[in-house]
């Protein structure tokens, strides 16, 4: 799927507020959100700030998407565990997966092998996006997010979006 198609897929799910901290794998999505006059994009100073800002947007009536590299997931554990998961504030996390299958620079290897388990441990439903089923995976997880008012995570590997 093209990056622009995925971006519109997210918007068609009712998402019109975005925040995040960049990753090269998310460059295209961030560029689109920040240039789109129909949405709000907050270039957050830290990943937990992005999640909290998105949570404020939810209180204000919007659905949000937060972009981050998996290295930033650790920075959000407190806000996810003591805000989103207990107050039941939904947010769609699009997390780029560095260190996938142990092939990457050293700083990515530990989070690369731990990302899925961390999400599982704190009970955030997560899907590893595949080229073939990306659309149904996204629609299904965003629906779960809205139905249960919980954070969900779409894991994006290199090469999935073109």
């Amino acid at each position: 799927m093209k990056t622009v198609e995925f971006y519109h897929l997210l918007k068609n799910c009712g998402i019109d507020f975005f925040s995040g901290v960049p990753c090269t794998l998310l460059e295209g999505l961030i560029a689109m959100a920040s240039l789109d006059s129909k949405v709000i994009y907050v270039p957050a100073v830290r990943e937990d700030v992005a999640v909290a800002v998105a949570s404020g947007a939810y209180l204000g009536g919007r659905y949000s998407c937060v972009f981050m590299q998996n290295s930033g997931l650790g920075n959000c554990l407190n806000v996810l565990a003591s805000l989103n998961l207990i107050y039941k504030i939904p947010v769609c996390l699009v997390i780029s997966w560095r260190g996938f299958k142990g092939k990457d620079a050293p700083e990515h290897l530990i989070m690369g092998r731990s990302t899925k388990k961390l999400l599982q441990d704190i009970r955030i439903p997560a899907t590893v996006l595949s080229k073939k089923y990306l659309e149904t995976q996204t629609l299904s997880l965003v629906e779960k997010m809205k139905k249960n008012n919980i954070p969900v995570a779409l894991l994006l590997r290199k090469g999935i979006l073109v």
Binding site: F17, S19, I40, V42, P43, A44, V45, R46, D48, V49, A52, V53, A54, S55, G56, A57, Y58, L59, G60, G61, R62, S64, N78, V79, A81, S82, L83, I86, Y87, K88, I89
Partner: protein
């Protein structure tokens, strides 16, 4: 002026039309005891995040005033958010920081606002109106003014060490109930 005295003055002037995000710890518990209402969003945890939540809300609802009742320890933990707040160019935001130079809920350990001045920092970041107060009368005058203004404002309230509030009830609502009530208020 104790923190509780400051909260009583602030509560008196919030006209119950202002959506208020309140930092975790004694600040939330004291506000709950002084003036509970559906306009209050109490943080039970996620220290440091109150002002970020306020930012997201203020951006989503530009026609309401958002008040953040923050603490010094809270703000220090997430300092960078001051830059996000100013960069967003919002006008419907009043950022109040109750600064007792301590982490009270955990045993009153010192915080580093004993050395640094958060008002100077807010001013350097670019908040349009910045005030630093320590007297109840001046707090009353300034808060009355700032509630009505449509400007990004920062109010540092220095409060004293005396007067730990005893018999302070814990917040009786569940986090989900706090959220539901707040969302209903905003609709």
């Amino acid at each position: 002026m104790t923190r509780l005295e400051a909260i009583k003055i602030i509560a008196k002037h919030l006209k119950t039309k202002e959506a208020t995000i309140i930092a975790n710890g004694m600040i939330s518990r004291e506000m709950f005891a002084v003036m509970d209402g559906e306009f209050n969003f109490y943080m039970l945890g996620s220290m440091g995040m109150a002002s970020s939540i306020g930012l997201g809300l203020a951006l989503s609802k530009p026609n309401i005033k958002v008040v953040v009742l923050d603490g010094d320890g809270n703000l220090l933990m997430s300092f960078g958010v001051l830059a996000n707040i100013v960069d967003a160019k919002i006008k419907n935001f009043l950022h109040i920081v109750l600064d007792n130079e301590a982490y009270e809920s955990t045993g009153r350990q010192d915080s580093v606002t004993r050395t640094i001045d958060l008002a100077k920092i807010a001013r350097s970041c670019g908040y349009k109106r910045v005030y630093k107060v320590s007297s109840p009368n001046i707090l009353s005058k300034i808060i009355k003014k700032l509630i009505l203004e449509k400007t990004l404002s920062f109010l540092l309230v220095k409060v004293g060490a005396k007067g730990k509030t005893f018999n302070l009830p814990r917040i009786s609502s569940s986090p989900e109930a706090i959220k539901e009530r707040f969302i209903r208020f905003l609709r």
